[in-house]
Each structure stands twice: as C-alpha cells, then as structure tokens.
C-alpha cells in the first residue's frame, strides 16, 4: 500500500488531498478540493475604482489601455509595493489540487469526501473522460456542496458578463512571458513554489458539470456502511467540524484504515466528533494540519489565546492514566473546546457591536456554515439587548435554501440543537398541572404551553427572519434589498476570497469608512486579498474561527485510537512526542507533500474463510489414517462479501461437466 500526499492543504477552505494506492488492489482518492485562496491573484470586477464612474461602456477599451499600462510598469520592474494593478485582470480561473491532473482519472476506483470543501473540485474530476470511480460522501455534505458549487457558478457569471465570451486558447496570463512579468508574490501563488502548479488552473465547471457530479455521488448517513466491490467496507463517522463532515474508516479483509480529517471535539452546531468508532484500526492516517499555525502564532486580537494551563495538565494526566477511563477522558476532551469557541464568538460579536454603534457597517464574508449560523443567532440577540435598530442582511444566491436546509436536518446537528427541536421542556412544569380540569380547558392551556416549550427551530435564524430582523436576499441588486436598504447594517455575503460575489461591491462602498468593519477568516493572505480595495480605512479583523486543537489533545487522542501504524504529516515530526515507552505500541510514519510513502504491507497471515453451514453439513469427511486428521473436498461458490471470504452453496459439480454447461456464443474467438 502506498500513500501519496498530493497537497497538504491550508486550513479549512482547502483540505488536504491524498491518494491511497493498492488498498486491497484499489486506488482511493481522499478529498478533491479547490484552492480558492489562489483567486486572490485576480483583480475583482470591476477592476478599478476609476472605471466604475466611467460607466459600463468604457470597460472594454479601459481594459486594453489598462493592460498596456500595466505592462509598461512591469517591464520597468520598479521595486514598488504591490499594487492593485499588478493583479491579473482576466476572467477567473480556478486552481485545483496540484498534480491531481497527472493521475489517470480512470485508474481511481473510489473517491472519499470528508467535507463540503473537500468536494468543490469534484466536478472537474467527474467530467473527465474515463472517470468511473465510486464517490462516497455524506448526505448533508453533498447537499451543502451542491449549494456551494452553484453559488460559485452564479458569482463567477459576473466575470463572464464582464469579460465577454471566453477566448479560444489559454488566457493571456498563462503565457510564459506574461508569467515572467508577474510580481513574485503573485507568481508564487500562480505557479507554486517550485513552478509546477500551472497545470492545475482551470476555468470553472458549469452547472451541468455539477449536476452530473451530483448524480455520480453515493450519499451515506453517519455510520452507514457502504461496501465497495464486496471488499472494502466504508463508513463515515462524524468529525464535528461541520455539518456533514466526517472521518472515514476503510475496512478490508486484511487491513483496517482510519482516515482522520479535520476534527473538532465539541461543535456548537454539528454533531460531535465520533472518535469512539474509530478505535482499534490497524492504520490511522491523520491528515489534519490546521492546528499548526494556531500554535505557532498567538494572535493578539484573539481573546481566547490564553490557554488555561490546568486544563492541559489534567488532559495529559488523563492520557497516562488508566485507559479504561474512557468516559472521563471524553468529557475532558469535549469540555475545553466548547468554552474556547464560545469566548471567541463573543469577542467577534463585541467587535461587531462596537463598529455598529459607531455608525459603521460590518461585512462578514462567511466561509464556515457553522460560524454563519452561530453569528446569525448571536448578533440579533445582542442587537436587541442594545435596542439598536440595525438590519442584518444575508446576500447570496443560495442563502434562502441554505438556511431552510439547516433547519430540517436534526440528524446532523449537535445534541443540544436536536433537543431544542424535541419536546423536552415538558418535564419541568408539567407537574404543576392541575389534572382534574375539564378536558377542554386543560387541552387549550396545555397546548399553548406545549407550543412555548417545544418545536423550536434548531437554529433560531428562522425566528429572526419572521421578525424582520434578518433579511435574506438572493442578489445585491435585487429590488427588495434596495427598498429595505438601511445603513449601518451587518451583511453576511460570499465570497471570503474577496474576489467574488456581493462582498466586492460592499467593500468598495465601505473601504473608506473608518467605522466599518470587515471580518476575515484566516486562510487568506490579507495583503493580497485587500489589495484592490486600498487605500483601506475600514477596520479589518482577521481571526480563526476554528477552535485550537492543541497538541496535548491531538497527542492524547491519537494514542487513544490505538492504531498499529500512525501516519502523520511531516510537520508534526518535532511537535508530537511518541517516545513515551508506555504508549508507543505503534509505529509512526511521516508523509511529505508531493512524495509517495510506502506503507508497510500487512503481515502475511491467514485470511478467514467462512463456510456456510449448509455446505459444511454436506462434506463427506474422510480419515487420513493418522488420528484426528480429517479431510474433505470443498465445493461451492467463493464470494467476497462485506470484506470477508465466504464459501456459499453455489453451483455444484453437476454443473462441472463441460457438455452440460450452457453454451454461450461469443465473438471473442
């Protein structure tokens, strides 16, 4: 078995991508993301403030003269700070995983998707000729991914309208001479560190491609098993990081693998990380690297960066303590995350409030669905408490569907949310009921009471929409938005790359307002991302919404999973210490991006064969002469089911006579 890390990814938006080869003879692709942060090399539409005032007619001519000017500047190679004009002015292209296109799509047997973001590049693959792999993804992730992809296409249309029909041949910026002229910062993004990533750029897929892709995926629920080819038993388990995101287990006849993607111990909205189910596998592939930058740099504006030290010590104590103490450990693993995330959200909310109170507007280019949902819940409550009349807008082509969808999926939501939707409020006051009322009276008051305590939507944004505190619009130019428009306001809109969607227009409007606030998630390089909007007066808050997974926790968790082999990204080499002799019952391997790691093959051993008892009864045993050695002839049909060999009563020897076989004409001769 071999593992190739195609990309080690960067953060939530761009999860890592791997290929596992020869898993019982099959080739498995793990995730197929898009590097959307690379969009920052493009200039948003419209390209520059100056041209906006000129009106639409001058766009095309403007583009020509703009290009010339740009070229002159580049030729001169003046060492000036990066300017908006240095960005590529062309239709957006999208950067897929590097080197994935070098793999023959027809050679991939299985594609496993761990999250919504891990699916955004999939239409590129599914439309490739010869692609016939089975794609497995959780039900909720597939539905969310479809929304995301369609939204991406809708936003990309703006570019298409602006630049007109696509030219034949590659875009001008892909020519080598043009690439040479790119500023080094941008060039690095375009061609990669070693200059090999240019082949990964593609124009966006069409909605037909997305439809086609969605038809090809097979959706699963958490803990549902899928059996590929009778050999591999695949199962997704909740990873806690987002609605529908999962860790996969791959069970073959000889080896069990756990693929551990980005996982969060306790999530505020999605179902908790189900790591109990991942235990006892032979091999654990840990592909999550997100906690690394968080450890290295402590962000000054992040309120939650102080780590309660007693927490850590208690954790590590747990680790070394009795392994049976699973429950206690689980609790300690879950508790810390929750607190931190809550604190962080509170901090963001307070920043938003400050800015709104000062008369500025707030733009939140959301990325993670969970954050959007949480902020949508917290902000209206805060505003209400301050009696501030500030409208909240959500502007996206898919916002309405997205928000409707989030309230009909209790199976994917976290426990507290599920219970919110269920009828548990009853237990408290029902004892106070005077049960000897007349039926009709009891019933009316009883039902009024029921409605107060139950059937709440899981996410309260529905209420806010009903109370006209939250407004959902499909586009920034929709007439309804224009009529209700009111400033200051709080706007949630895509896209976090700041190159696509309503965000671009909103930033242009408020970039000069020092009271306004932009909340960026990390994952984008703020220097390049904000370039087109300079000079920038508005405040920018960049923060990570992900709770930190601190090393002791990861360390602890990995040890608890008790794999025989642990495969980690090489960055973790120094950071995790597996030298403790009491715990290192497993071997640790490290993989590097772009390199193929051979995983030790499972020991040559025996395989279990299950013989149906119906067959076993038929065996005519014979003695070998020696005592207690018996033999018989095996017959039947050997099949591979659920990763197990089974000998079933199939076609028996009556069929073995060649002349009795049904003859089939064949042209193969």
């Amino acid at each position: 078995m071999k593992l190739t890390c195609l990309s080690s990814g960067s953060g939530y938006q761009f999860p890592p991508c791997h290929i596992l080869e020869d898993v019982c003879g099959f080739r498995i692709l793990l995730d197929c993301p898009l590097d959307l942060s690379a969009l920052s090399v493009f200039s948003p539409v419209p390209p520059d403030n100056d041209f906006v005032s000129d009106g639409k007619a001058s766009y095309n001519s403007a583009r020509d003269c703009f290009a010339k000017e740009q070229e002159i500047q580049k030729r001169q190679k003046i060492e000036t700070p990066l300017h908006a004009k240095d960005l590529i002015h062309d239709e957006l292209w999208y950067k897929t995983v590097k080197n994935l296109h070098l793999w023959d799509p027809s050679s991939i047997d299985v594609v496993l998707i761990s999250s919504v973001m891990g699916m955004l590049g999939l239409p590129f693959l599914t439309r490739a000729e010869g692609f016939s792999a089975k794609i497995y993804v959780t039900d909720a992730a597939a539905r969310l991914a479809r929304l995301m992809m369609e939204d991406l296409i809708a936003m990309n249309m703006e570019y298409q309208y602006f630049y007109g029909p696509r030219e034949s041949g590659g875009p001008h910026w892909m020519r080598w001479e043009e690439l040479e002229l790119l500023r080094p910062e941008l060039k690095k993004v375009v061609v990669g560190k070693d200059g090999t990533e240019l082949g990964g750029w593609l124009p966006l897929y069409s909605s037909a491609d997305v439809m086609d892709c969605m038809r090809k995926v097979q959706t699963l629920k958490y803990a549902e098993t899928a059996c590929y080819n009778g050999t591999l038993v695949l199962q997704p388990f909740s990873s806690g990081s987002e609605i529908g995101s999962c860790n996969w287990t791959i069970d073959g006849p000889k080896r069990n693998i756990t693929w551990l993607s980005c996982s969060i111990f306790a999530s505020a909205h999605a179902m908790n990380f189900d790591y109990g189910a991942l235990r006892g596998r032979d091999l654990v592939l840990y592909s999550d690297k997100q906690f690394l930058p968080l450890m290295d740099e402590v962000q000054s504006n992040d309120a939650s960066s102080t780590i309660p030290s007693n927490d850590l010590s208690s954790l590590s104590r747990c680790c070394s303590a009795d392994k049976d103490d699973w429950k206690k450990l689980t609790e300690s693993l879950l508790s810390t995350d929750e607190i931190l995330e809550k604190e962080k959200m509170d901090f963001i909310c307070s920043c938003i409030l400050q800015s709104v109170q000062a008369g500025g507007s707030v733009v939140i280019p959301y990325n993670r669905l969970g954050i959007l949902l949480q902020l949508l819940e917290m902000i209206p409550v805060l505003l209400e408490s301050l009696a501030a009349d500030v409208p909240i807008y959500v502007i996206s082509s898919m916002a309405a569907e997205l928000l409707a969808f989030t309230n009909v999926i209790p199976e994917w939501a976290s426990k507290p949310r599920q219970e919110k939707a269920y009828l548990f409020g009853l237990s408290i006051p029902s004892s106070k009921f005077e049960l000897h009322f007349e039926v009709s009276k009891v019933s009316s008051s009883f039902w009024m009471f029921l409605q107060m305590f139950s059937g709440e939507p899981m996410f309260s944004h529905v209420d806010f929409v009903n109370k006209r505190k939250l407004h959902v619009f499909s586009a920034i130019h929709s007439p309804e938005l224009l009529t209700t428009w009111q400033e200051p306001c709080i706007i949630f809109a895509p896209h976090w790359s700041l190159r696509l969607g309503p965000v671009v227009h909103l930033l242009r409007r408020w970039s000069g307002d020092e009271n306004s606030l932009l909340i960026l998630e990390d994952g984008v390089d703020p220097d390049i991302a904000l370039l087109p909007f300079k000079p920038l007066e508005m405040k920018v808050l960049q923060c990570s919404f992900l709770p930190e997974r601190r090393l002791p926790k990861v360390d602890c968790m990995l040890k608890l999973l008790q794999p025989k082999i642990l495969v980690l990204p090489d960055d973790l080499k120094e950071k995790l210490d597996f030298s403790n002799p009491s715990l290192d019952s497993f071997s640790v391997l490290y993989y590097t991006e772009g390199e193929t790691l051979s995983l030790p093959s499972s020991p040559e051993g025996t395989l279990d064969l299950e013989i149906a008892s119906v067959l076993a009864e038929r065996f005519a045993w014979q003695n070998l002469g020696r005592q207690d050695v018996m033999y018989t002839r095996l017959e039947g049909e050997l099949v591979m089911e659920q990763g197990k060999f089974r000998l079933l009563p199939g076609i028996t020897s009556a069929d073995s006579h060649p002349s009795k076989n049904k003859e089939m004409k064949s042209d193969a001769g």
């Binding site: 803990a223 013989i611 050997l638």
Partner: protein
C-alpha cells in the same frame, strides 16, 4: 481444452460466462477490472473438480479448523403483544443470547390488565429496546416499562419518533385523564423515559454491546417509522413494525436492502386485502368530500393527529387549490398543529418530492387548513373537520359526530382501519343506526359514511412482496386478525416454501439459526488467486472431439475461479495453503520425506451411450468397455501411448478403471443425467505432472461416450 491455468487454487466454480461480462467478485456494483489480453490467455484452461488424494499418499492440502462461530442457539421469539391481534405490539427476540424488545405498545381496546404487555413473562434481562414508530400500540407502554417496571437499558428509536412520541403519549394521557381513567404512568414518566432514548438515523449501524448490531430501514407508514434489522453473530432478523409498500402524499414506500435473514417478523394488518391503487382511493375520497360540501354538508374526518392527517391535509390542500374551493378545512387538535411543525423540521423523512421542494415551499405550510374552535360545531354552512381521536373512540370526534350524525347531508369519513369495539368500527360495518347521547336520549344516525382504506399499512400483496424480496428462512406474523393471518400463513408457506408462524400472545417460537458459518483459514495466495478471474475457453463441437479445430463450433467460456479444495481438520490446528505452496507444505508436513500427490476423479457415464458404443463392436462387460475406450483414446491422442492393462487403462501416470465401489471417495456429488438408466462409473487417478493430459482424457471420455 486449450490449456491449463497456472494451477491457481483449489476451489472451483464452473460458470458459463460471456467474456464481456465477467465480474471479479460477486458484488453487483463493481467496475470491470481491466484485464490485458495476455492475462486472458493465461487464464485459458480448466481445472476439473477432480482433486483426490489417496489417503496414504497425501498429507494435507488445506488444513482447516472447524469451529462453530457461536453456540448455535438460534433465534427465540416471545410474543408479548399483537400476537393474533392488533394492539400492544411487543415481541422479545433472543438472538444467540442477546435479548431485544421490539416495540412496547399498549392496547387501546382494553382498559384493564390486558392493556399492557405482560412484562412478567420476560425471563432475564434485556439488552435493548427498539421502537419502530410513535403509534401508541407500538410505544404506549414504554414509559410504564422504563419508569414503573424499571427497565434501565438502552432504548433506540428514529429521530422523528423521538420527537413525536411524547406528543402522542401526552395526548393519550390527557384523554385518559379527561375520561377519569387512572393510567399507570404520569407525564413525568413520559419525559423521564424520553430522556433515556438514543435517537438513530436510517441505515446507521448501531453497535449494542459487543455482539448485537441493529440498523433501521425506512418503513413508510408514518413519519419516522422504521423496520429494524438485528444481527448477532451469524443470526440475523428483521422486525418490520408497521410499514407501507406504496408511497403516499407525504411519505415514501418502505425501503430495505437485500439481506440474508433467518427470520422476518412482519405485520399483517391487511393479511388478505389487496387494496385499490392509491390514486383510486384518493379520487374516491376527494369526490365524496367534494359532493358533500357542494351540497352544503359538513364532513367529519375522525383521525389521529399524526400521520394520516398530514397526508389528507396535503391531499385536500392540493385539491382545494386546484378546484378553487373556499369551504374551510378545520383541524381540531393542537396536536396536529404541533405535529405539522415537526413535519416541517423532519422533512428528510418524508418522500422525495416534498424533500426536493423545501427551499421553494415547505409542503407543510398549509394555506387552507385552519384551526377549529369548539363554538364552530354548529355554525351554519359546509366545512371539513379533522378531529381526533380516530375511530370515533371518544373526545372531540365523537362529540362532533353526535351533533352532525342526525343530518343526511353530512358525511363521516373513516380513513382507515377501525379497531373492533369502537363506534367507528360499528359505523363502518353498517351496524350503527342509533346512538345514546350523554343525556340518555337517542340519536338517529342518518349521515352518510364512507370507509376508505387510506391505511398506511401494506396490503397482502405488499407483505408477500417484502417477504419474497428478503426471502428469509422463516417468517412470523404479528399485528393482524387471527383468521386472516392463518390464510396468509398458508399462502406464505405454500408460495415460498418456508416455515411461517403466527403465535398468540405469550407464545414462544424457536428458530434454529441456519446461517451459521464455519470459520476456516486460508493463505494469502489462496485469496489472491480467488480474486482474479480464471476463465477457460473451450470449443465443444457436437461430434465430441475436444480439440477440434472447427471454428464454427460454439465457444464455451467457463470461470474456474474457485476450484475445489480439500478441507482438513488436524487436531484443531488450522493452516491453509495455495496450490503453488503445496509441495513445500508436503515436505514440511511429511517431515522431509518427498510425498507423491495423486489426483483422483470418479465420474458416471450413462449406460445407454455405453451400450451403443459397445454394441457397435459387439462386445460387453467392463473389459470390453475399456477396450473401446483404449481404441478411441489412441485415435484422439496419437501422441501418447495408451496401454490397455485389462482391468485398467494407463497413460503415463494416468490410470482409468471401471469403478464398482458405490461409496468411492473420488466420486463427486454429480448426478447422473437420467435416473432411469443405470450408469457406469469410471475411476481415475494421476500425478500432478500429467494433470493436463488427464483432464483432457477425462473430458474426451465424457464427450465421446
């Protein structure tokens, strides 16, 4: 034969196949393995099921430890409720020692001890309780069982059931209290009980303890209804709960995977009924309602608040919209309103059509359906009223019925089955003409009534369809009426040839588990060779000459992937080997001495052919038979020396003789073609190096005689 495959492995299967359609395993969803032409050629050949070792010569080929994977305890079902009746569904199933309770319902037709299942019959502790859906006859006794009887183990039900069950239970409690009936549990018990419930999703694998695995499948019937699959070791079964095999307005049809099952316990509400199409009954319903309201009448639809009501709402809402009707549709119960909220949330459990439109319009946002106030009972003008409870068993629906029944223009619509003993049942069977009102005055029943089979239960065809699809080894009927069940039972036994049970309450059914697998072990190379296809192509011309060059003869393709092997028991030690490893294994096991492996085969030839063949030469007897064969073989195989030794023929190490030993160990279980004609067996043996030749000879003997 064109050639012998690299001797591969030892389990053989002969299956005619077209080359273009040859999966590598039995799975149905696999892509074709790309096979190079060269590989195809390598797999030409055929290994006959002829591996025989004379006891003295062969140590072992495949050593296998035979052990039962679990004590063969099988499945034991104790029916606590819904045995030969409808109501208080409760079955305790013990699968290989693990004990599960399926459903825990109450009987609405009784108010005495009979109301609850007799939990005292449970012997020992339960491992888990699984509830299929939220109807009272499936969940009604659960709070009593957990809070009063004191069951404290895990309880599983689907998400919607968990959400809706407390509503149902509270509603029941409210009506009971109104009637002045003392129930065995309280509202606190309900909420305490529901807190212990673990919600599960469809198809999610739930591991209970170490051995028990359960999984829920979509059952239609009502929102969140599930069929439950349970497996312990090799024994597995499905408890269907109530299910519906046809989709309706708001729910889909039951869906289940093909499973290998020992037992299916199915409901049999409509054991003998075959229902009209859904479309026809919907039309009938709408027509009756329409006719009544157009004539100015009032329509009373007594229904339980959850399930049927939602379906009829959607149906009427749709119809009202299309026909532009303005007549108000009322629903009486707060429960229904509440339930609609849940239906909105639990959208993913409804049918596909509703699910797909969530973003545009939530199908449970009903425009025409408004809530009902008691004062409107005698308001003039037509209306449609949904009132709970169903079956006119009391509460508002009975109250309204008493008010509306005397008028001929009014209509009572009973959408579904009414339990015996209820007013609904009497009305439906046409026996009800008079009714005593509260103040002892009589009410004449003059209104029309229509009973429509709008049931969310499957009909007898659906039950048969499901059973045939699952094809279990045993079936058991519950949740039905005794006479009908026995008819269905006979039908199942005759049509499917399996044993079917319909135990009464308290009955115990023991089923031996038949799918026990015997565990054996094999080596890597064994498995490897089993995974690659092993085809042989042979041209069998009608003349019988095997090595015919006649290209016009049909090409037969057989897949010999699984050869035949020897299963060995050696003091409990297990070891499996691939044929390539055979020689090594022999040396090891024979303590270094080289061993000789002889292959053997004993096959029958019908005597009719023989007499023809020998008759041609005017000979008889086994010696003469061999003589004929020797002649024939020397023609067919001019390159080898066929020696006739009188009692046997010898070609190299290949020896062929006429076999008279009826219990010849080399004999395969092959059945001679025509039992009326006697047949002669030929017994042969050969060494490995002559295998190719031996197989060719055997084949030609078979074909030429």
């Amino acid at each position: 034969f064109l050639g012998i495959n690299d001797p591969g492995f030892l389990l053989s299967r002969h299956r005619p196949l077209a080359i273009s359609n040859c999966p590598t395993t039995s799975s149905d969803d696999l892509p074709l393995q790309p096979l190079a032409a060269g590989r195809w050629l390598r797999f030409l050949g055929k290994l006959l099921p002829v591996l025989r070792w004379p006891p003295q010569a062969c140590p072992f080929l495949l050593l296998v430890e035979i052990r039962q994977s679990a004590p063969a305890m099988g499945i034991e079902c104790l029916v606590l409720g819904a045995g030969q009746e409808i109501g208080k569904s409760c079955v305790i199933v013990t699968i290989n020692g693990m004990r599960i309770m399926f459903d825990c319902g109450m009987h609405l037709g009784h108010s005495d001890e009979e109301r609850y299942p007799d939990f005292s019959l449970i012997d020992g502790s339960l491992d888990c309780v699984v509830i299929t859906h939220f109807h009272l006859d499936h969940i009604g006794a659960l709070p009593y069982f957990t809070e009063v009887v004191g069951y404290n183990g895990p309880i599983y039900m689907t998400y919607p059931t968990k959400a809706l069950a407390p509503l149902m239970l509270e509603d029941f409690l409210r009506i009971s209290v109104g009637r002045g009936v003392e129930e065995k549990f309280t509202a606190e018990d309900i909420s305490a009980c529901m807190k212990k419930v673990t919600p599960i999703d469809l198809k999610q694998n739930i591991q209970v303890g170490k051995d028990l695995q359960i999984r829920a499948y979509y059952a239609g019937h009502v929102l969140g209804a599930a069929m439950v699959y349970a497996k312990v070791g090799d024994a597995s079964m499905v408890y269907t709960g109530d299910y519906n095999m046809t989709p309706d307005r708001h729910l889909g049809a039951a869906q289940i995977d093909p499973l290998e099952l020992d037992l299916v316990i199915t409901e049999s509400t409509y054991a003998t009924t075959v229902r009209d199409s859904k479309y026809a009954s919907e039309r009938k319903f709408l027509k009756a309602v329409h006719d009544c309201v157009v004539a100015g009448g009032k329509v009373l639809i007594p229904t339980f608040a959850l399930g049927r009501a939602q379906e009829l709402f959607i149906l009427l809402e749709d119809y009202w919209e299309r026909m532009n009707l303005k007549v108000p549709i009322y629903f009486s119960s707060g429960l229904t309103k509440q339930a609609n909220i849940y239906y909105k949330t639990l959208m993913s459990w409804t049918n596909k059509k509703i699910k797909d439109t969530i973003a545009l319009q939530n199908a449970f946002n009903l425009k025409h359906v408004v809530s009902f106030d008691r004062s409107q009972i005698n308001a003039p003008g037509p209306c449609v009223l949904f009132a709970s409870p169903g079956m006119l068993s009391g509460g508002l629906s009975l109250e309204v019925f008493k008010q509306w029944a005397p008028s001929e223009v009014n209509l009572v619509m009973l959408p579904g089955h009414c339990v015996a003993g209820t007013i609904g049942h009497k009305l439906a069977s046409g026996k009800l003409t008079k009714l005593y009102a509260d103040n002892n005055s009589q009410i004449e029943i003059r209104c029309k009534n229509v009973n429509l089979s709008f049931s969310a239960h499957t009909d007898s065809k659906g039950i048969m369809d499901l059973l045939k699809f699952l094809s279990p080894k045993h079936a058991m009927l519950v949740h039905g009426e005794k006479p009908r069940m026995s008819i269905l039972k006979k039908k199942i036994e005759s049509e499917m040839g399996i044993k079917c049970y319909d135990p009464p309450n308290g009955g115990l059914v023991k089923i031996p588990s038949a799918t026990v697998h015997v565990k054996a072990q094999t080596s890597d190379s064994f498995a490897k060779s089993c995974q690659s296809p092993n085809f042989s192509l042979s041209r069998c011309s009608t003349s019988g000459a095997v090595l015919s060059t006649d290209l016009a003869s049909p090409l037969t393709v057989t897949d010999d992937r699984v050869g035949e092997a020897i299963l060995f028991v050696d003091g409990g030690k297990a070891r499996g080997v691939h044929k390539d490893e055979l020689e090594l294994e022999l040396i090891v096991s024979g303590e270094g001495k080289p061993q000789v492996v002889l292959f053997g085969h004993c096959f029958p030839i019908r005597s009719k052919n023989l007499t023809n063949a020998t008759g041609r030469l005017g000979l008889s007897g086994s010696r003469s038979l061999l003589k004929v064969l020797a002649l024939e073989l020397s023609h067919l195989f001019p390159q080898v020396d066929v020696q006739n030794m009188g009692d046997f023929l010898q070609v190299g190490s290949f020896i062929l003789s006429v076999c008279t030993n009826a219990s010849c160990t080399r004999r395969s279980s092959e059945v001679p073609g025509d039992p009326s004609t006697t047949c002669t067996y030929f017994c042969c043996s050969w060494c490995m190096e002559d295998e190719k030749l031996a197989l060719a000879i055997i084949s030609s003997v078979r074909n030429s005689l």
